[in-house]
Each structure stands twice: as structure tokens, then as C-alpha cells.
């Protein structure tokens, strides 16, 4: 099963995205054999978490089994979260200008579902060190460190920081990531700690997927990164009503 941990729909203000659509995403997924992608709507990442989340759920309904929803939590808007029918929660401390370890994000951790967070080395909002702080406070919450810290000079440090925190994985999308770095990170902390994501439609799905497909990895490690690890992460948590996220996988 191939699962993409990091996807988006919709427009983003500072550059042109030629294809922002759910239909376009599914067409590309079909061509690549990607079973499902976790999405947050960029409107939700930006100024309207509730409406953006509604649009993400609507897209998931139109394409059953192809989109897992990362519902965005905005600590300023304090929007309601659900533990049903989602992969988990997406937070973007840099856009929200709220540190990942700020207590205003506590409702996210208290939900207990997997969390995908933007991670950016040396950012005052989302430096990988803050993931360690959160992981210590909430060792039962699966946490994906988005972009593995984003900047190549920080990849190895991010991997070292999460080594002793098994609930944290490195999610590897980003325009500065390389196939070589994916292999190096897998060698450093183990392929079972690396999770494929593409950042599509923000970035091109084919480039993110292809980076893993052609990275110098053996087949077993590649399979873990392309979906095995995320399937395990999504299966780790059990929502309050006993409905497992694993049951929501296609």
C-alpha cells in the first residue's frame, strides 16, 4: 500500500499552482499507484480553518478512500476538532505564528490522534527541538516532523533529535529534499522512522513520489517509507469511540 502523508488542496497566495484540484490529484495518484494521500486544505492552513476543513472533508467524500483528512487546528481560531473520519491533525506553527510547544496547541495533543506538523530548522515556531519537547510531554501521540526540518543543513540534526523519541517520525517532503538525503536519513535513524510525503498540490506529486521511488534504497526500506510506516502510525491510535484510524484506511 502506498500512502502519501502530506498533501494539500486549494490555492496558496504567494505563487501560482496550475492544478489545485482534487480531481487532478486523484488522476496523478492513479497514474502512480498511490492508494491514498492525507490532505489539509490550504484555506484551512491559512485564514479559515473551519471552512478549509469542511472543504477537505467534502473532497474526501467525493473520492472515497483516496483522501485521508488532516484537519487543521488554528490556535487563534480554536476551531473544533473531530476524532472521526480523519487521519489526524495538521498544524502549521509558522503560518499560525504560534510555537509548536505553545500550550495553545494542547487541544491537538489531547485528541490523541496522529499529528502532522510543519517543521523548519531554526524557525522560532517549528524548530525540530520543539518536536522533542512535545514528544516528551505526549509520548503516546504519533507525531510527523514535516519536511524533516525543511533545510538540508538541518536534516541530520532533526534525525538525531528524534532518535530517542519513537513516537516521532520524519516526513520528507520539500523542495530541498533529495533522494540521497532520504537514503542517508534512513541509514541514520532507520527506514522505519521515515515517512513519505509529497506536499502535493503545493509541490508536484510526481516529483515527491519519484524522489522516493528512485532513491538509493533497498526494496524493503522503500516499501516502509512509501506507506508501511504511515499505515503503522495511523493504526497506532484508537479514537475515543473505539473506531480505529486503521479502519479508515482504504
Amino acid at each position: 500500500m502506498i500512502l502519501d502523508a502530506h498533501g494539500h488542496l486549494g490555492p496558496w497566495p504567494d505563487f501560482l499552482i496550475p492544478d489545485q484540484s482534487a480531481d487532478g490529484m486523484v488522476a496523478l495518484m492513479d497514474g502512480l499507484g498511490i492508494d491514498a494521500i492525507g490532505i489539509s486544505h490550504l484555506l484551512a492552513v491559512g485564514p479559515d480553518a473551519a471552512e478549509g476543513n469542511r472543504q477537505a472533508f467534502a473532497a474526501a467524500e467525493r473520492h472515497p478512500g483516496r483522501f485521508g483528512v488532516w484537519q487543521v487546528y488554528n490556535p487563534h481560531q480554536r476551531n473544533r476538532l473531530t476524532d472521526r473520519g480523519v487521519w489526524g491533525v495538521k498544524v502549521h506553527p509558522d503560518v499560525h505564528q504560534c510555537r509548536l510547544d505553545d500550550r495553545r496547541y494542547d487541544p491537538v495533543w489531547e485528541l490523541g490522534l496522529p499529528v502532522l506538523a510543519h517543521g523548519q530548522t531554526d524557525s522560532p515556531w517549528s524548530d525540530p527541538e520543539q518536536f522533542v519537547t512535545v514528544a516528551r510531554r505526549h509520548p503516546g501521540v504519533p507525531l510527523l516532523l514535516g519536511h524533516a526540518g525543511l533545510w538540508p543543513y538541518g536534516f541530520a540534526r532533526a534525525a538525531e533529535l528524534i532518535r530517542e523519541h519513537p513516537n516521532v517520525s520524519l516526513e520528507i517532503c520539500g523542495s530541498k529534499m533529495t533522494g540521497r538525503w532520504i537514503a542517508r536519513l534512513a541509514a541514520q535513524v532507520g527506514a522505519d522512522r521515515i515517512v513519505y510525503g509529497s506536499d502535493s498540490c503545493f509541490l508536484d506529486l510526481r516529483i515527491g513520489f519519484g524522489r522516493v521511488a528512485l532513491a538509493p534504497l533497498d526494496d524493503a526500506d522503500r516499501a516502509l517509507i512509501q506507506g508501511g510506516n504511515l499505515a503503522r502510525v495511523l493504526g497506532m491510535t484508537r479514537s475515543i469511540d473505539g473506531d480505529t484510524t486503521e479502519g479508515r484506511l482504504p
Partner: protein
Amino acid sequence: MPEFVVDAHRLIGPVPFDDLPEDPRPEMDRLGVHQAYVTHTLALYSDVRAGNEALLHLGDPRLVPVPVLLPESFEPVPDWDVPMVRICPARHRFELTGPTALRWLAALGVTAAVDLDETSPGQLLALARELPEQRILLLNPGYRRLRAIGELMAAIPNLWLEIGTVNTQRGVEWLAGHYGAERLVFGTGAPVMDDCGPRFLLDHLDLPEADVALIASGGSLL
């Protein structure tokens, strides 16, 4: 899948900030890249002359030398027999449209490759006005400035675009639809930049096979 793949933007040699393969050929073999236009890292990160000398002694037909051109007002124009030179106006602190650069580029008459971060749309427009026959390969255009890139493609007929960093959803198809696949050139910037994703994209572009083959082999530029 394209039969002949040329990477128009590749480095050879060590870099000071990472542990990367110095020889591009093993990775080219692994990824199915048949030829690469290469610049020596010494010419970018140390001594331009030493880097260019090392490059011009490679003697491998798979590696097409792209020496770095550093215009010096009191030196003669190099007599290189190369199809392309690379210019780094920001790194080497010279004016892209200064009198020496213009004189050297006009005398050489070969394609000039320049990284978008080394220049600006305004400078490129000025260069095209001063030397309308000058062929320009814009490296690392990225994905956040497609609107500005589009303007440049429309305004400068002799501008080609390296696609390795055109990384937003269907960005390459968008460019091909508006400006023609012949204006697009496969390149990666490896090993500093990624070659796996762009190489994979080449095999999965939603374009006619002939257009993909054209992009893979250097558009109408190489």
C-alpha cells in the same frame, strides 16, 4: 520514456557544505541519464580558473564542459570551444549587463546559463535588449515565481528554462502549454539539488511523447 536524457545542469567536484558524490557518472548510470552538461565546483566555490582547467581536462564525451565565465576587463576573452558557459553575477560580483560581460558574451556567442538567484527578471530583460541573439538557459527557476518566469519566457524568445526545480503541481505542463516544450530543458543541479524526483517526473509528464523526448534532450537549445 525518453530514449536519450541529457541533464543540462550538473556539478562535478567537492562542495564545502556537504558530503556529496564528486563524480556524477555513477548516479547518471543509475538514473538513466546519458549525458550531462557539467560545471566544476571549484569554479563556483573556490578558484574559477582552477575549476575551469579541471573541467576542460575531463575528456569524457558524456560530460559536456560548462566553464564559468568571469568577465575581467583587462583580460582577453577565453577561446573555449564549448557550447555553453555559466555566469554567476551575484556570486562573483559583476554586472550582468556591464560593458565587460556584454563584450565577452557577444565575443563568445555561446549559450549563457545563469541561476535565477544570481540575477533578476529585470537584469535578464536588460541583457536580452542589449544582446538579442544571446541564448540564455535559466537555471533553478524554482516554483514560486512562475508568473515572473512566464513574463520572461514571453518577452525573451532566446530564453530556455531548466525544469528541475519547477516543482508545483503540473507546473511543467503549464509552461509547455503556454510557451512550448521546445523552450524547456531537463536539468537537475545535482548533486546539491535532487535528481531522483526530476528524473522520475520526466517519465511521467502528461505531454505528448515527442515533447517529452524534446525536453529530455535539451529542448531546442542543446
